[in-house]
């Protein structure tokens, strides 16, 4: 009977131990997500986040028998904060990071992740040319700045005979602006045109206006986020600067139209996404997005969703992050929401670019 008593007490303790024990953490895939989620830059970041999480929502945050945990961080378009966030991810052993949204922030994260062998930074939207053709720990589904990307735009300018371009950019995302300066400027120069001025958007509106008035320009190129660009255009139109405005893809969200009102009518974009696409996959996505969030998705939400789909497909085969980039590139070609997404051997993608214009408060594709 002593044996009985002993086993009773041992059983009791075992039970207590089991109750006290926590779940094993090994069955979770942790994904870091970093983007500008608040302030002026949040239109981009929150769009990507909403698209990205929608894809995981569909699979109930489960890949195989593992749970997916997404850890969201806001870099506030602040270099110091962006650095701190990536370092924190590294400390917490988070190997897979989705981000950043803007090229400047991505430029800060890449050198940090490159120090590790088994970390992957995967961006939906960063298009900076600095990262092109590099065999590193970075991969993206955004088309980088390259001559090819600007072909449609160049054709448009030639067709419209725009020669003198007034360039307004956001110095807080200089990495992105550089793409326009290196590739686009070259093309313009070759066609006999030129960038007659380069002005930082963060300067006072009055000084920008003065410079605009002092120059002979036929096209204003604004590289900035959606709300800044919209506000800028409102100011320009209010002050009778009525020349054509070419805005960067960065600004191409619904916020741009809302905040720009009639002032942004006629603004043109060079883009790889068409909001009015009748592509079945895209329409399906729009339907799901609207059902969940009660609003129209932006291109960035679509890109966030595409990225998540590619990720899920590859994580199903293996959750080993050290081989993830190789595995993604090995497959190479994926079904996007608007046509295929095709990676080159460095993890850069190509996509057909075309022109869109705002007409009656909507993005409309224009052919030139």
């Amino acid at each position: 009977m002593k044996v009985f008593l002993k086993s009773f007490i041992v059983g009791l303790f075992t039970l207590a131990l089991f109750v006290g024990c926590n779940k094993d953490e090994d069955d979770t895939i942790k994904i870091g997500f970093v983007a500008g989620l608040s302030g002026k830059y949040s239109a981009l970041g929150t769009s990507i986040r909403d698209g990205f999480t929608l894809a995981f929502d569909e699979i109930n945050y489960k890949i195989g028998d593992k749970k997916v945990k997404i850890i969201q961080k806001d870099d506030k378009q602040d270099p110091k904060l962006a650095k701190k966030i990536i370092e924190e991810f590294m400390d917490k052993n988070i190997k897979l990071i989705i981000g950043n949204a803007t090229s400047s922030m991505t430029a800060i994260s890449i050198p940090i992740v490159n120090k590790y062998n088994d970390v992957l930074l995967f961006s939906a939207t960063a298009s900076g040319a600095d990262f092109t053709e590099k065999d590193d720990n970075f991969i993206r589904i955004q088309v980088d700045h390259s001559a090819k990307r600007y072909t449609a735009l160049n054709n448009y300018l030639n067709h419209k005979k725009y020669k003198n371009i007034f360039f307004i950019y956001d110095s807080k995302n200089i990495s992105y602006a550089k793409g326009y300066l290196s590739f686009f400027q070259d093309m313009v120069n070759k066609a006999g045109g030129k960038f007659i001025a380069k002005v930082d958007m963060n300067d006072s509106y009055e000084s920008i206006l003065a410079k605009l008035k002092a120059t002979e320009h036929d096209l204003i190129l604004i590289v900035g986020n959606s709300v800044d660009t919209a506000n800028m255009i409102q100011y320009l139109r209010l002050n009778n600067i009525n020349n054509k405005v070419l805005a960067s893809g960065w600004a191409k969200t619904m916020d741009f139209i809302e905040n720009g009102g009639k002032a942004v009518e006629g603004t043109i974009f060079s883009t790889g996404y068409d909001e009015n696409s009748k592509d079945k996959a895209f329409l399906e996505f729009v339907k799901k997005f609207k059902a969940k969030y009660g609003k129209q998705p932006s291109v960035f939400a679509a890109q966030g969703y595409e990225l998540a789909k590619i990720l899920i497909q590859n994580l199903r085969n293996s959750t080993d992050i050290s081989t993830l980039k190789d595995r993604i590139l090995k497959i190479g070609k994926y079904d996007g929401l608007q046509g295929d997404i095709e990676f080159d051997k460095y993890g850069d993608v190509s996509r057909k670019y075309f022109m869109m214009e705002i007409r009656d408060g909507k993005y409309v594709k224009v052919d030139y």
Binding site: L5, F8, G39, Y205, A230, N259, G261, K262, Y293
Partner: protein
């Protein structure tokens, strides 16, 4: 089925009857305590929810009043009203006046905004709604350049040319929610708009700036979607911390208001009490189990002792002593048992005495039977001797005794005396044989017995049919005289029965069967009329006899039975046949 032991059953019942009621009662009490604790938490949460809902509606009403105020005052006082109000009112970030085309006519703000009169806001969702003819509208959460944060706006038509947009500072809602704190300083209240976007989250204000939604959360999927308002909800938050609370929907704008606490912290003190109770109960359980063990042991100890003693007695040790027990019932049992033991002891002694007497009687009977047998054997040679002697005498007297005849008579006398002498040897050997086990041929032993009894049978004209053959001599180890004694006894009984019933053509037949493996059976059958079926079971009992008292002792078959079963380890049985009875002596080889 093997019977259960008393010990195990007793212990099992003890433990069951002590532990089960204890466990059941404790479980019920703990469950009830838990339920009432939950109810009191729910009540508290509902009270807070009611206050927050009222306050939230008040905030909304106050903004709507402000709209009315501007509607009444703006056309006259114009700009000063806007700047004044936006400075004074904490809940207002910016006030915009739009014209009927959505063009910014005027504005007042706490912040120095980079916006200018003349800006076109005609694409704003709220403007589009007002243009459809609505007089007032609460916007969704949107990112407003006018306030540089996620905002909601109250939009109201002032007159046919003017529309007022009151942009609300969401931090105001957050500050209001901050007032409701848990004991650990965290906030109890969350406010979420109809689309699931955070309006107030004092613990994580960044959620508001990031326009974070709750659509993927446990609480949304499990409860809000299922319209579980005002009921107690238990859910996991984003950090997988268990929470308990309640949610409601505000009247004015349909905001979800969640009042919640950390489940672990709410039940911290309660859990301590429960832990204490459980530990106490475990202690009680251990005590009751130990007590059960001891109690059952103390009850079973004397029973165990009885068992051991009975075992000894069963194996023939009648002098073993039983000690007195602790319990009255057992004491009585023990004293009765002692009396019984005494009686058994006494009877045993008496039996031994009786056995001794029986043994003596059997000896006497055997002697008598022997003498009878000797008499039968001797009758013929004695008559031969007597005839020879008287023949010689007569022939001598008549003088006709020839020498040749004399020799013949003398030879006959010598042969007869030799026969008598041989007979004496046979009987003496039978009586004198040592009581030691030796190996014999079974058939020899049977014939030895038949030799002794044959004359007696012949004298009574009973035919002895001897079917014993020597084809398979059987070697057997036994005490020499015993088997003969049994055979003689059985045949004597047959003879007595035949004579008593005056059977015609009487016979006794003896044969040997190798019926079973390792067994040999001697069958002795007669035609003496058999045994009454009513008494056939009793014939081996001591002192049982059907013969007249002068003839039988009632011990012969009893002794035979004892010899076969005890000494020879065989079996002895009897059954009626057509004309008589058959005795079967089965012996192991």
């Amino acid at each position: 089925m093997k019977p259960r032991t008393l010990k195990k059953s007793l212990l099992l019942y003890f433990i069951l009857f002590t532990t089960i009621p204890l466990i059941v009662a404790t479980s019920v009490i703990i469950f009830q305590m838990y339920q009432s604790k939950k109810e009191s938490v729910l009540y508290k949460h509902q009270q807070i929810l009611k206050i927050v809902e009222e306050e939230a509606d008040n905030i909304v009403s106050s903004i709507e009043h402000l709209g009315d105020y501007i509607k009444n005052r703006y056309p006259q006082k114009q700009h000063s009203v806007l700047t004044g109000l936006s400075q004074i009112r904490e809940d207002v970030a910016t006030i915009l006046i739009l014209d009927n085309n959505g063009i910014l006519k005027d504005f007042g703000s706490k912040k120095n905004l980079k916006i200018y009169k003349g800006y076109d806001y005609s694409n704003m969702e709220y403007f589009k709604v007002i243009k459809t003819g609505k007089d007032q509208y609460w916007s969704k959460v949107y990112f407003s350049y006018a306030s540089n944060t996620p905002s909601i706006s109250y939009v109201q038509r002032v007159d046919k040319d003017n529309i007022v947009v009151i942009v609300i500072d969401l931090s105001m809602l957050n500050n209001f929610a901050k007032k409701f704190k848990n004991r650990d300083g965290t906030s109890m209240v969350r406010i979420i708009d109809k689309n699931g976007i955070f309006l107030a989250h004092p613990d994580r204000p960044e959620y508001i700036y990031e326009r974070k939604n709750i659509l993927n959360s446990d609480i949304y999927k499990k409860y809000i979607k299922a319209n579980y308002e005002y009921k107690q909800i238990i859910f996991y938050n984003k950090d997988h911390i268990k929470s308990i609370g309640v949610y409601g929907v505000s009247n004015k704008l349909g905001w979800y208001i969640v009042v919640k606490e950390d489940y672990g912290k709410v039940f911290q003190a309660f859990n301590k009490v429960i832990l204490f109770i459980v530990l106490f109960i475990v202690l009680l359980l251990i005590i009751s189990i130990v007590t059960s063990l001891k109690l059952s042991k103390s009850i079973l100890k004397p029973i165990d002792e009885f068992n051991t003693k009975m075992d000894e007695i069963a194996h023939g040790n009648y002098v073993t002593k039983i000690e007195s027990a602790e319990y009255e019932e057992l004491e009585k049992l023990s004293s009765n048992f002692l009396i019984m033991q005494e009686k058994i002891k006494l009877r045993e002694e008496q039996n031994r005495e009786k056995d001794k007497q029986i043994f003596e009687s059997i000896k006497m009977v055997q002697m008598g039977e022997m003498i009878g047998n000797i008499a039968h054997q001797w009758r013929q040679p004695l008559s031969v001797i007597s005839t020879a002697a008287s023949g010689m005498k007569i022939e001598r007297e008549f003088g006709i005794l020839q020498d040749e005849k004399l020799y013949t008579y003398c030879d006959s006398i010598t042969t007869s005396t030799q026969y008598l002498s041989d007979t004496i040897d046979t009987f003496r050997n039978f009586i004198k044989e040592k009581k030691e086990r030796k190996e014999f041929i079974l058939q020899d032993r049977i014939n030895n017995a038949l030799e002794i009894i044959s004359s007696s049978l012949a004298n009574h004209h009973i035919k002895l049919i001897n079917n014993i053959n020597y084809d398979h001599p059987v070697k057997i180890t036994l005490v020499a005289g015993e088997l003969s004694q049994v055979i003689i006894n059985i045949i004597n009984n047959a003879k007595d029965a035949i004579m008593e019933k005056k059977i015609e053509d009487p016979y006794v037949q003896i044969s040997l069967n190798f019926d079973q493996e390792g067994m040999v059976t001697i069958v002795i059958e007669d035609n003496g009329g058999g045994i009454d079926e009513n008494i056939i079971n009793k014939i081996f009992d001591p002192y049982f006899t059907t013969k007249h008292q002068s003839q039988g002792t009632g011990l012969g078959l009893h002794m035979s039975y004892k010899i076969i079963t005890e000494s020879l380890k065989g079996s002895l049985s009897a059954k009626n046949t057509k004309d008589g009875v058959a005795f079967m002596i089965s012996l192991p080889l």
